[in-house]
């Protein structure tokens, strides 16, 4: 049997999108590890306390580092403070918009909404657009033509990956989208996942944000100083590296077009600082399989179902040692992917979904 290389069309309105719908890959039924209802309910229970604590630490540090950086502006001593401020602004917000968007971080909904709006502004993701795009990401995780949040497409564009460690392409696209939305235009692809009734809200928020950025630029010009932009906007660039470092590991190098999160998502054990910044999203297989489990319960969920999952990568370094060679191999054969081994205690993958892809990957 001859297998021709697949041509992937990542457009949400292209050929792969059409094929995904026709083949039943879109909005499919996904594999879930069995968990008794009583335990599942316990895991899904909401609590305000952990997120209030973590948010107080996050905002407290953000203000402290920002104030120290501003006070020392003009000397090299401001650099370490801005480096910390940047990570809290340009990376920690990636996890916070995400968790609060799921509505699981806090028990109290207005707290989820408030942190969601703040974090979305900092990470430059329109809160309406991204709520709906992330909904699609969970429905059709790494389904080509359906998932709008595939970070590394095949064949991998490694230059784009490197530039995004400094937020360059992401922030540029975010700015273009913001200006376009502020002008009242919703893109063709955005329209595939944002309901018409929600689109005016996306436009209204884009206009508010544009006004804030213009005011910040005006203040910088008035003061003749970069400082206002070091505090608002630029941290999305100089502080982006951590969220890219952790985010690439979520699905990088793994299978696409499968309906089992054990095959297309990666759990990575991480140091406590990264886990605080990342709000435990290193437990990514668990998060995708059960997205309504709050971040603070993911370590418990991991312990409960690890018998049914591939072994986690033991560190970020181990994750990258697995992922980077896969990216390089995908440059030559975009059908290649890492098929993670299951432990003997796990229920097997449904091979009927993967046999063709596995053949093409050889």
């Amino acid at each position: 049997m001859t297998v021709t290389p697949s041509a992937r069309d990542y457009s949400l309105v292209g050929e792969s999108a059409r094929r995904a719908v026709e083949s039943g890959l879109a909005a499919a039924e996904w594999y879930h590890t069995d968990i008794p209802r009583k335990q599942m309910k316990e895991l899904m229970q909401r609590s305000d306390a952990p997120a209030i604590r973590d948010t107080a630490i996050w905002l407290g540090l953000l203000v402290a580092f920002g104030a120290a950086g501003a006070a020392l502006w003009g000397s090299w001593w401001c650099v370490p403070f801005f480096l910390c401020y940047g990570v809290l602004y340009g990376s920690a917000t990636d996890a916070r918009w995400h968790e609060c968007g799921h509505g699981t971080a806090f028990k109290t909904q207005w707290m989820n909404d408030a942190v969601y709006q703040i974090a979305c502004f900092m990470i430059m993701r329109n809160p309406v657009t991204w709520r709906w795009s992330h909904t699609r990401h969970h429905t059709d995780t790494v389904i080509v033509g359906r998932d709008p949040e595939i970070a590394v497409m095949r064949p991998p564009d490694l230059l784009r990956v490197v530039l995004n460690f400094f937020g360059l392409l992401d922030a540029w696209h975010a700015m273009v989208d913001m200006v376009r939305n502020a002008a009242g235009v919703i893109g063709k692809e955005e329209a595939t996942f944002i309901p018409e009734s929600e689109q005016p809200r996306a436009i209204r928020i884009a206009r508010i944000w544009l006004a804030i950025y213009l005011a910040t630029i005006a203040l910088a010009l008035y003061l003749g100083s970069w400082l206002p932009l070091m505090l608002v906007g630029l941290p999305r660039l100089y502080g982006a590296w951590h969220h890219v470092l952790t985010g690439l590991l979520q699905h990088g190098g793994l299978a696409d077009n499968v309906v089992d999160h054990r095959l297309n998502s990666r759990t990575v054990l991480m140091n406590p600082v990264s886990r605080f910044i990342y709000w435990n999203m290193n437990y990514h297989v668990e998060h995708h399989m059960f997205p309504m489990v709050p971040y603070h319960a993911l370590p418990r969920l991991h312990e409960m179902i690890k018998h049914d999952l591939p072994a986690p990568s033991q560190s970020m370094w181990a994750g990258y040692r697995e992922m980077l060679p896969a990216f390089l191999r995908q440059l030559r054969n975009e059908d290649y992917f890492i098929k993670r081994e299951l432990p003997p205690t796990a229920r097997p993958y449904r091979e009927e979904f993967h046999s063709e892809a596995a053949l093409a990957a050889q």
Binding site: A27, M44, Q45, R46, G103, T104, H138, T139, P291, M292
Partner: protein, 105 residues
């Protein structure tokens, strides 16, 4: 058809919880509120075809297990993105420890 259909025993559902009930090719969700009242809705989220019986009941709210879509299960009202369409509700009665629902035509 407007007959009452036996869905489950009242004790099958914990307080503030939900149970799936399939009948005649359709799927329903039966709820027991914290006040020990019973309610019934269509079993699938109106956003995407996800069984609500896997979700979390919080007071009057059922939360879809996939995308956090929330409904008031007593009225069927959608309570915010990503759900925009209300859930259909059904009359429920409890008789001799059994829960019955009445299906609309």
């Amino acid at each position: 058809m407007s007959d009452w259909i036996e869905a489950c025993a009242a004790d099958d559902i914990d307080e503030e919880d939900v149970l799936r009930f399939d009948h005649a090719g359709r799927t329903f969700a039966i709820y027991r509120s914290p006040e020990d009242e019973f309610f019934a809705t269509d079993g699938l989220c109106t956003h995407e075809q996800i069984h609500l019986s896997q979700g979390l009941v919080m007071g009057d709210i059922i939360e879809c297990p996939k995308h956090n879509g929330r409904f008031n299960y007593k009225t069927g009202a959608a309570r915010g993105a990503p759900v925009c369409v209300n859930l259909r509700t059904y009359p429920v009665k409890v008789d001799d420890g059994k829960v019955f629902i009445r299906m609309a035509d």
